[in-house]
């Protein structure tokens, strides 16, 4: 498991020189006009961070790849609405979050499948020495399964804020809601999770 300090922060963008800035602005303007080469350049620059963001939400590498493709298709489709004066990364992340949310909602309707990857996550975790021995493997498994049953909107807010420790401001921007709404969603997710665990006879 990576150290918390190793987790990439999306706000840690290196400073650009004036030439780089001009080049970047030019690239974004060309993308807005529908230039496919500019779009490919942006794709090459941002595919890894977009994939990483989606993976944090869906926690399934194959699905994250498909959703990265879906996200860049949506980005291409919306190129005329992009404002070059604004940053590309937060805009892409918002579209990626929407695509991941749609995927989670669609999966939720498929009975029983939602918990599968979480079961695998927990099985993997059981073999890791970093796991807290004070928390039983069964508790972790049932927590993961209970988490998979939460409404997708609450899950995204909780997984990004609590598990991935992303700043509330960035989660809010990605979800298109206020910071207060993110905190409320996290609180509701935790409360529902606790209720579900109690119903299963697990006292946290």
């Amino acid at each position: 498991m990576p150290e918390r300090s190793e987790i990439v922060r999306f706000d840690s963008v290196p400073e650009l020189s004036s030439n780089d800035l001009e080049h970047s602005q030019n690239m974004l303007a060309r993308f807005r006009q529908g230039d496919l080469n500019a779009f490919e350049t942006l794709f090459r620059e941002h595919q890894r961070s977009v994939y990483g963001w989606i993976l944090r939400i869906v926690r399934d590498p194959a699905a994250a790849e498909d959703l990265t493709v879906e996200t860049f298709w949506r980005i291409h489709r919306a190129h005329a609405r992009f404002e070059p004066a604004r940053a590309f990364e937060p805009w892409a992340r918002r579209i990626a979050t929407r695509a991941a949310l749609d995927w989670l909602r669609a999966r939720r309707t498929e009975s029983g499948r939602a918990a599968t990857n979480f079961d695998q996550d927990v099985a993997d975790l059981s073999s890791r020495s970093a796991a807290d021995p004070g928390i039983a493997a069964e508790t972790r498994l049932k927590t993961a399964q209970a988490f998979a049953r939460l409404p997708p909107g609450l899950r995204i807010a909780a997984v990004l804020s609590v598990v991935e420790e992303q700043p509330h401001k960035e989660v809010a921007a990605a979800l298109g809601i206020s910071v207060g709404a993110v905190k409320l969603r996290v609180f509701r997710a935790i409360r529902l999770l606790r209720k579900d665990l109690l119903e299963q006879g697990i006292t946290p």
Partner: protein
């Protein structure tokens, strides 16, 4: 819910779902898949190479509306009212 209960649930959740490795990246180049997705889109560059295919339905719909309007001219004000 007490603060300590909330913190305990968060701790269990972090244990149940470990953070994703920041070095994660796609297992393959996704650009060809993005291009295929774009080309499959109606009105894309690929679709524009086949102009007869892209909007026959639009023309058929328009023709149907014209025929309907000519056949029943009294319905035109009703349509306009609801537009």
């Amino acid at each position: 819910m007490k603060k300590q209960d909330e913190d305990r649930i968060k701790q269990i959740l972090r244990e149940a779902l470990p953070p994703v490795d920041s070095a994660s990246e796609p297992s393959r180049d996704l650009w060809p898949a993005v291009l295929r997705r774009i080309d499959a889109e109606p009105g894309s560059e690929l679709s524009r190479l086949e102009p007869g295919r892209q909007n026959w339905f639009d023309w058929a719909l328009l023709a149907g509306l014209v025929v309907f309007a000519v056949s029943f001219p009294a319905t035109i004000p009703v349509f306009l009212y609801y537009l």
